[in-house]
């Protein structure tokens, strides 16, 4: 059963809808352990809604999400919370709790879900901050640091409980190219060193090709996923003009960059 063991998250027949407005239907894909899985597609096609469904913020209209074979939306609430504890999420704007310092932000999940003494929690907090390059910023409030730093602090909080799945919502949005590149490198390093599965929502082509090992392509016209697989492979082999158009910034198949 090696194949099922390597599957970490599986979406089956997912339909995403707001009331009667169907955003996406018939989504089927699997995310393997250790994947950097990209959810891509044009603006407003439902990428963020899909992310919300995967992390349990929005119930799907139909279909199921399996974590390690457990159906997320059909289990008991307590078990669902247990599942969520193994998940870290970096929100688009960082979503740090603005009334707390960075250190308090990162310490909160630790205080809540572990019985560690305060001194050890403090050590863990400084470690997480150091990992994202923010050593010594623990006493700052989110409003006192730049947007890029907020994002990295958000990542530190997402990693607080050493999750085995990390979700990123548009990690490079609002970052300069160099910071975006550094964040990509950080994501790769985290995946390699923590052995975590990473799911990234993005439409940043540079990131998609640099870090993605698997992906799903959402198409707003047909309201479903029209391609899955390694983005580099998709670029080289896909026959679908919509996918090619997206992955080449509208240049077309004949202008595919050399890989």
């Amino acid at each position: 059963m090696t194949e099922t063991e390597s599957v970490h998250i599986r979406a089956q027949n997912l339909t995403l809808a707001y009331g009667s407005f169907v955003l996406m239907r018939d989504l089927d894909f699997t995310i393997n352990r250790g994947d950097i899985f990209i959810i891509m597609g044009g603006s407003g096609c439902g990428k963020s809604t899909l992310l919300k469904t995967l992390v349990g913020l929005k119930e799907p209209a139909t279909g199921e999400v399996f974590y390690n074979g457990t159906s997320f939306w059909k289990t008991e609430l307590t078990e669902r919370e247990q599942l969520m504890r193994g998940v870290g999420i970096l929100y688009q704007s960082g979503a740090l709790w603005s009334s707390m310092t960075l250190a308090e932000n990162i310490a909160m999940p630790l205080e809540e879900y572990t019985d560690l003494p305060v001194s050890q929690i403090n050590e863990l907090v400084s470690l997480k901050l150091a990992l994202v390059g923010l050593a010594g910023f623990g006493g700052f409030y989110p409003s006192e640091i730049s947007g890029g730093m907020r994002k990295r602090a958000g990542l530190a909080r997402a990693m607080a409980l050493d999750p085995d799945i990390l979700f990123f919502d548009e990690p490079s949005a609002g970052l300069d190219p160099v910071s975006a590149r550094l964040l990509d490198d950080l994501i790769l390093e985290l995946r390699d060193s923590l052995g975590a599965t990473v799911v990234v929502v993005t439409h940043e082509l540079a990131s998609i090709f640099a870090i993605g090992t698997n992906s799903v392509f959402l198409d707003p016209e047909s309201r479903t996923a029209i391609a899955t697989g390694d983005p580099n492979q998709l670029l080289a082999e896909s026959r679908d003009p919509r996918v090619i158009n997206f992955l080449t910034r509208g240049e077309g198949a004949e202008n595919r960059p050399e890989l």
Partner: protein, 384 residues
């Protein structure tokens, strides 16, 4: 977009020759700038209307000094008229930049269908939709009420999770920091009550009863009511705006996904803070109001301080204060409830935060007055 190098800008002019022939030459002169008076183009349009259908319009821009979007809007209008009226507008004579921008502006055809909402719905379906909306709102409110009661239950069992330091900050925010405004308003209310009453009482020579009137009115009604309304405007709006901004920043999502219930973590401490602080503020407001009444009684109607004090303490029983305090605790729940409800329901935009704060205050004040009425009936029935 200005292409001119001349420093003096001439007012734009428009000249044309060849009217009523098949070739109309239009000369654009001067600076076509937004801030200068626009030339009268009605005559040209009139001239075009009288031309035969095959007319071509050509431009001569030798004397054109500068141009900006005002020239473009004029030309676009001309092009549209040409399409409708059957004359061709030839762009060759125009400056290169103008030609490119005109091409750009007409590259994507105008969206004709308009927004879906522009379609007028029949009256019945609009009424139906509104009713459904109101019902949904009611259901949401009930759900929120239920959740907050559940959270309160967990609090009583000692299982609720929130940060103690948050509660302490909130207590300070709703308590000590509200004292100045509560003092000011209650003293003034006491003064006003005394003035209004004294006009009547003086005609009977019964000024001493000012003390009774102010004391009872403050303790039973005005202390609780005024504090609640101040707190609705001050703290209820702040709660809605805080929670609304947290919703916009995805902070509430972050709480939920980490397994923290926003109900326990955000709503509960705010409710607790107001429930605890409102009676204290109310008691303080009662005393300040009585003080305000005393200023009028002693300063203007020749009562001595001792007289006033004795009269007040004779008129007021503990139950009068108790009614006010119970009410104010209840009003505290109402203020926190509407503030948190609107904040949690807030949409994800800046204007949504604004309307959340507004509707939190309106809802709180309506509820306060409503429940004050209920309390009045209740105390009457129970004759306390």
């Amino acid at each position: 977009m200005t292409t001119s190098t001349t420093t003096v800008s001439e007012t734009p002019r428009i000249l044309w020759e060849g009217a009523a022939t098949d070739r109309l030459q239009v000369r654009l002169c001067g600076s076509w700038l937004r801030d200068l008076p626009q030339p009268a183009v009605a005559d040209l349009e009139e001239a075009l209307r009288n031309t035969p259908g095959t007319c071509r319009v050509v431009f001569d821009c030798q004397e054109l000094q500068a141009w900006d979007s005002s020239l473009l809007t004029f030309l676009l209008r001309l092009v549209r008229k040409g399409e409708a009226g059957g004359f061709a507008v030839e762009q060759e004579g125009l400056p290169e930049g103008v030609q490119k921008l005109l091409q750009l502006a007409s590259a994507v055809p105008e969206k004709k269908a308009g927004r879906a909402e522009d379609v007028r719905e029949p009256l019945l379906s609009r009424v139906g939709n509104e009713v459904l909306l109101v019902l949904g709102e009611g259901a949401n409110m009930l759900a929120f009420l239920g959740e907050s009661v559940q959270a309160a239950g967990r609090l009583v069992r000692g299982k609720a999770r929130f940060r103690r330091s948050d509660l302490i900050l909130l207590l300070q925010e709703c308590g000590v920091k509200a004292l100045p405004i509560v003092s000011l308003i209650s003293v003034l209310v006491g003064l006003i009550l005394a003035f209004v009453g004294s006009v009547q009482l003086k005609t009977f020579g019964a000024q001493i009863y000012i003390a009774d009137m102010v004391g009872i009115a403050m303790a039973r009604e005005m202390g609780a009511m005024m504090t609640a309304i101040i707190m609705a405007g001050r703290t209820g709006a702040a709660f809605a705006a805080q929670l609304g901004t947290m919703e916009v920043n995805e902070e509430i999502d972050a709480l939920k996904t980490l397994g923290f219930s926003p109900m326990e973590f955000l709503v509960l401490p705010r409710m607790l803070a107001l429930i605890l602080m409102m009676p204290l503020l109310c008691l303080y407001a009662d005393l300040m109001g009585i003080l305000g009444g005393a200023v009028v009684g002693i300063g203007m109607f020749d009562l001595t301080p001792t007289q006033y004090l004795l009269q007040t303490s004779g008129a007021l029983g503990l139950n009068d204060f108790a009614i006010g305090l119970v009410k104010s605790s209840f009003f505290g729940i109402l203020v926190a409830f509407s503030g948190c409800l609107r904040g949690i329901q807030c949409g994800r935009s800046a204007s949504a935060v604004g309307s959340a704060a507004t509707s939190a205050v309106v809802m709180a004040i309506v509820l306060i007055v409503l429940f004050d009425g209920l309390f009045a009936v209740l105390t009457e029935i129970l004759s306390i």
